[in-house]
Amino acid sequence: MKKRNRLPLFAVPYVGWMALFVVAPILMVVLYAFTNAQAGFLFSPDGFTLDNFARMGSYAPVFLRSFQLAIVATLVCVLIGYPVAYFMAREGEQFQKMAMVIIMLPMWMNFLLRTYSWIAILDRNGFINQFCRAIGLFDLINGIFGTNLEYFQMLGTPGAVVLGMVYNYLPFMILPIYSVILKLDHSLLEAARDLGADSVSVFRRVIFPLSLPGILSGVTMVFVPSVSTFAISQMMGGGTQMMLGDLIELQFLGGAYNPYLGSAIALVMMVIVVICMYVMNRFGEGEEEAVML
């Protein structure tokens, strides 16, 4: 049976690949984050600095906005996603299969396209404003309040950015919650009912606590891309709603070229992700499957 010990060698090429293209790039980010932009190289005299982190202070509003919008979007996703997942799990098998396809299908269309489509809906002359004009809503409002309203300004507001995030990441919330609820041990629910719990307390004291791991993994899967997005905030925010992702992009490919500062922000973002993962691993076990959905 000695022969079988050769099989671990199958992984050698990929381990080399990981070292080069997963570990090394992250080390580069760490290296750059602590490098003085003037010296340009960490190991030169006065190359080491914490300036990059100190300079982030001036971007505090961007940090604040990123967290606010991402948290609001995550909350909205939970509030919409949980009921959908819960109702889905109660339907027949055929319906569930269909619903899964319905939820997954939009993800096959590039998210930029789906987000771009919202612009046509929310625009000054977009569908919502056209509709409101057609039913005479603006005349009504102007008549009552004596205002001069011609359209609702929706693009370029924080609400539009949140809408873009919710729209794009809602499936990531529904699917893990759904898979957890589906796997719930039915005998527990029956036991609760037998012991006299009404349906509200069965939900509140049995189903909901047991589905927490799904919620947690959904929260991570929505929060991380939301807090780091840059395309959605640019499209829906019209350039007025700068977020962390936009800030990083500016440092690497934009006008404010400064990869040192960009790396420092990216490092902070990595720490956020690690914290999220740690919390998730603490409370939810066996979530790999949910993530794979």
Binding site: M1, K3, R4, R6, L7, F10, V12, P13, Y14, V15, W17, F21, V22, A24, P25, V29, Y32, P83, F87, R90, A99, I102, I103, L105, P106, W108, M109, N110, F111, L112, R114, Y116, S117, I119, A120, I121, N125, G126, Q130, Y167, L170, P171, L184, H186, L189, P225, V227, S228, F230, A231, M235, I248, F252, L253, G262, A266, M269, M270, V273, M277
Partner: protein, 285 residues
């Protein structure tokens, strides 16, 4: 949970599904619009489909996207399957840390993965190009200079695809009966034969689903491509992004309708094949 939903909860689900599909529906409808606006209907026409195929920039980016996705998926499927087998046969103390590193590209925010690869490529190519210049000056030897482009795009895609393949092959390996390989070898197979004839068919469903996930990830990716493709290559997502900064042509609606249709057809096909297979299985059983 066999209790039936009330009308209200069904209505809620319907609303959410409508929310998911309304923008896509609009996109498809307005790909047939005569005018340029994507909010004002000017009459039915196929002109954007005609112009789409004339547009070199869009067609090139579609081509780049497909080529990168196909090559990256194939490489990632082979490498990921081999790596999964390797990992599976390792001692736990080695496997666990390697699996953690394997999870990094999946867990990390896309932008961080993209930026970190961008830094690596920029630094490595900067050093190489400096070396080439130095050689030219001192020894009159020359070598091609390297820049970010199709190659780096491909490397990036392979890097973020492999973890998904590994993660979907691994469970199949764990399900497989460990003694099967031993039995095959006892019965006279070489270990290579045992691998091809016994292990591979067992884990095939995992490989196929890993391949599908990898392909989806590649087609859908924007952020990582954006940071690694350099100035010369552009994927469809990148082209769309640069268009949204200026003026979006309805050709984009047309190409997305075509892609969406292709996915739909593919899904239906897979579904039909699956049900047919299941029926056959029932029959033979």
């Amino acid at each position: 949970m066999s209790r039936k939903n009330s009308i209200g909860s069904r209505l809620f689900m319907g609303l959410v599904f409508f929310f998911l599909y309304a923008p896509i529906l609009l996109l498809i409808i307005f790909s047939f619009n005569e005018g340029t606006s994507s909010a004002v209907w000017k009459g039915f026409s196929l002109k954007w489909y005609g112009e789409l195929f004339q547009d070199r920039i869009i067609m090139n980016s579609v081509y780049t996207t497909l080529i990168v996705s196909v090559i990256a998926t194939l490489v990632a499927t082979v490498a990921g399957t081999l790596a999964a087998i390797g990992f599976y046969n390792m001692r736990k103390s080695i496997r666990e840390p390697l699996m953690t590193i394997n999870g990094i590209p999946m867990m990390n925010a896309d932008i961080v993965t993209g930026v970190s690869l961008c830094l690596l490529f920029a630094a490595a190519f900067g050093a190489w190009n400096g070396f080439v210049s130095w050689m030219e000056v001192n020894y009159r030897l020359t070598a091609p200079r390297l820049y970010q482009g199709f190659g780096t795009l491909l490397i990036a895609h392979i890097t973020f695809n492999i973890p998904y393949v590994i993660l979907s092959v691994m469970p199949k390996l764990k399900q497989m009966d460990k003694h099967l390989l031993d039995a095959a070898q006892d019965l006279g197979c070489t270990w290579m034969q045992a691998f091809w004839k016994v292990a591979l068919p067992e884990i095939k469903p995992g490989i196929v689903s890993g391949m599908l996930i990898a392909f989806t990830m590649s087609i859908d990716d924007f952020v990582i491509s954006y940071f690694t493709a350099g100035a010369t290559s552009s994927t469809l997502a990148m082209t769309i992004y640069s268009m949204t900064k200026k003026r979006v042509s309805p050709e984009i609606n047309a190409i997305s309708t075509l892609l969406f249709g292709a996915v739909l057809v593919l899904l239906i096909l897979v579904n039909v094949l699956e049900t047919r297979q299941q029926k056959q299985k029932k029959y033979t059983d």
